[in-house]
Amino acid sequence: MSAANTLPTSWRERLFGTPTVTVVTLLLAALLAWIAVPIIRWALIDATWSGQTRNDCTGSGACWVFIKARFGQFMYGFYPVDERWRPNLAGILFALSGAAIILAPKRLKLSLGLAALVILPPLGIWLLAGGFGLRAIETREWGGLMLTVFLSIYASLIAIPLGILLALGRQSELKVIKLISVLFIEFWRGVPIIAVIFLASLLLPLIMPSGIGVDRLARAVIGLGFCIAAYMAEAVRGGLQALPKGQREAGTALGLSYWKATWFIILPQALRISLPAITNEFIALVKNTTLVLVVSILDLLGIAQASLADPNWVGMNMEAYVFSGALYWLICFALSRWSKSLETKRGR
């Protein structure tokens, strides 16, 4: 606080208060302009926005026509066009129930959350994959942003509960459970995610008895989920260790069982402490989903890369990477803002 007090209050004084400050401000502004102007010119001013083919892009700037023509693929991969309402609906359902849980009165939050956790994941898979009345759509037709979101959500559905259990297991006084947890965490933390995805995709079909096939995407989700679970476990352990021992002892003294004490006393506090670390892992997970490219699952980045091979759009590398990069940034930035607002709310 003391530093803030010495700072002048008005922006004019802050930026141009003394000659030195003025020079630094001007230099920085020049540097910013030097970097930003060509980027803005390329991306906005000189860019081509309307047209149908590559020939419409005559300017020296970006050719956003390419993104327009490929927008459907960037969002849904090869998902059939007339079935695209299904991922949309699934996305809306997930978003709505998320909002409902946040806005619900406190006493309903937990039951609502648990209900969503039980109902939504299978419902989402049913909507996306079909069957039971809907047209079945194989996972190889999934792709783009939809697949990135799917991978992130479902891998974290595995990773978060498993991570919490592993963190508790690592603290457990039961030797076997502790050993299993430590082994699991150290194994999955020690293996590169890319190797896990690769092995899950290539080795499993070779060693599995023929006829039993686990879906390629499911294998990738499980592999990703296990890896992230190990990281999550360590993030949660940080929270658990930060709690004073007295918390659990008080719970026990009140006659609460291990699980009741964990559920009502330990976890709410530990998770609050480790929320920044968990968010960090989740953001890492979103970006790690791009690794599925090595097994030719076409997520947002994969589809961007694959679309560069179309000779009708050859040379659109910048546009494809800038667009997908911007989307990843938006997702990760939104996540970090959301976690920040959670922290401030919980930190009251």
């Binding site: 490929r70 679309s307 091979a309």
Partner: protein, 342 residues
């Protein structure tokens, strides 16, 4: 009378045995028929050879082969499902049976054939390292590059190949190294070198990125030999036979002048026995492999012969505008060859 019936019976038994012997079991073919589609492994994205277009349909020269195979086996070129494969997973995905055939721009080499448990079933593209030069330089072959400068990516196979090739021939060529392929091609485009080197297929894609693609020409005679074609697993000889002869059939069709447009007419009225055998008008060739006799008729009708595929995907009918070069029929100065349909 009795002897004649006996002889007839013996003859019948003989032919039965013979046909049973010819039709060895083919689990792959049975599986394809049962599931109703062909599983084809393709490249994740290679201009002209295998890529998804704006509508999400796979197209390209390698993809066309899959379509022809599906037309021959199932009677419908659209009954293919594609598994895009990365460099690392292409062999395992075929070895583990996730695809029936791999048509993925992979070079045929001795060691791959001998050690991977895979067989290469012919050549659908003669790839090889070559040079792109400016049209106005009027260079027709790599030998004429004496005194020129060539842009390459440092440490690449292409750099080594080119350096060796020029040294062997005592040609004085300056090789200018760049960090990345993209840098090298940009340098070539801006006039820093007289030539840039890469494989024919890659050059075709890169030429389209140049400022004025029409000002540049790709030398047709390559300095390396990297033939590519469809790949199958060891075992299931009848399936390998089908994979091989569908490719041969598309080449034979071009040889014999059968196209997707005249195939009906040719089938009905051609006097050429090889055409008639190819299209199933006589000979029963399809049945010998356990396919309908009109297998190649369907493939050519729906996909076209090799030349039609080539022009549509990488040739003059495509943005790549690649000349036939080595991928021309052997009768027209290329290397493309098929054994006869006899």
């Amino acid at each position: 009378m009795k002897t004649i019936t006996l002889a007839a019976a013996l003859f019948a038994a003989g032919t039965l045995a013979a046909s049973a012997q010819q039709l060895a079991p083919s689990p792959t073919l049975d599986a394809i028929k049962a599931r109703g589609h062909l599983e084809c492994g393709v490249h994740l994205g290679l201009p002209g050879f295998s890529f998804a277009n704006d509508k999400g349909e796979w197209t390209g020269l390698d993809v066309d082969y899959c379509r022809a195979l599906a037309a021959a086996v199932l009677g419908d070129a659209t009954k293919v499902k594609y598994t895009p494969t990365s460099v690392q997973q292409r062999w395992p995905i075929l070895q583990s049976g996730q695809v029936d055939v791999l048509s993925r721009n992979s070079t045929i080499t001795f060691s791959r054939n001998a050690t991977l448990g895979l067989n290469f079933q012919g050549i659908n593209f003669y790839e090889g390292q070559t040079f792109i030069v400016r049209k106005k330089a009027n260079v027709k072959s790599a030998e004429e590059l004496d005194g020129a400068s060539v842009c390459v990516a440092a440490g690449s196979t292409e750099e080594k190949n080119a350096a060796d090739w020029f040294r062997e021939r005592n040609l004085k060529v300056t090789i200018t190294n760049f960090q990345k392929n993209d840098d090298a091609i940009t340098a070539y485009d801006s006039g820093r070198c007289d030539a840039y080197t890469a494989g024919v297929g890659a050059l075709a894609g890169q030429r389209a990125k140049l400022k004025v693609p029409d000002d540049h020409v790709i030398l047709t005679k390559p300095i390396s030999n990297d033939p590519q074609g469809p790949v199958t697993r060891y075992g299931d000889e009848r399936w390998q036979l089908i994979v091989r002869w569908v490719l041969n059939g598309t080449i034979a069709a071009e040889m014999l002048g059968v196209t997707s447009k005249n195939v009906d007419e040719m089938k009905a009225s051609s006097k050429n026995t090889e055409v008639r055998r190819l299209l199933g008008a006589e000979g029963g060739f399809g049945a010998m492999m356990g396919l309908p006799d009109d297998w190649m008729y369907k493939a050519i009708k729906q996909v076209g012969n090799y030349g039609e595929s080539y022009e549509r995907t990488v040739g003059m009918g495509s943005p790549l505008k690649l000349e036939r070069g080595q991928n021309q029929l052997w009768t027209k100065g290329g290397l493309l060859f098929t054994p006869p349909f006899q």
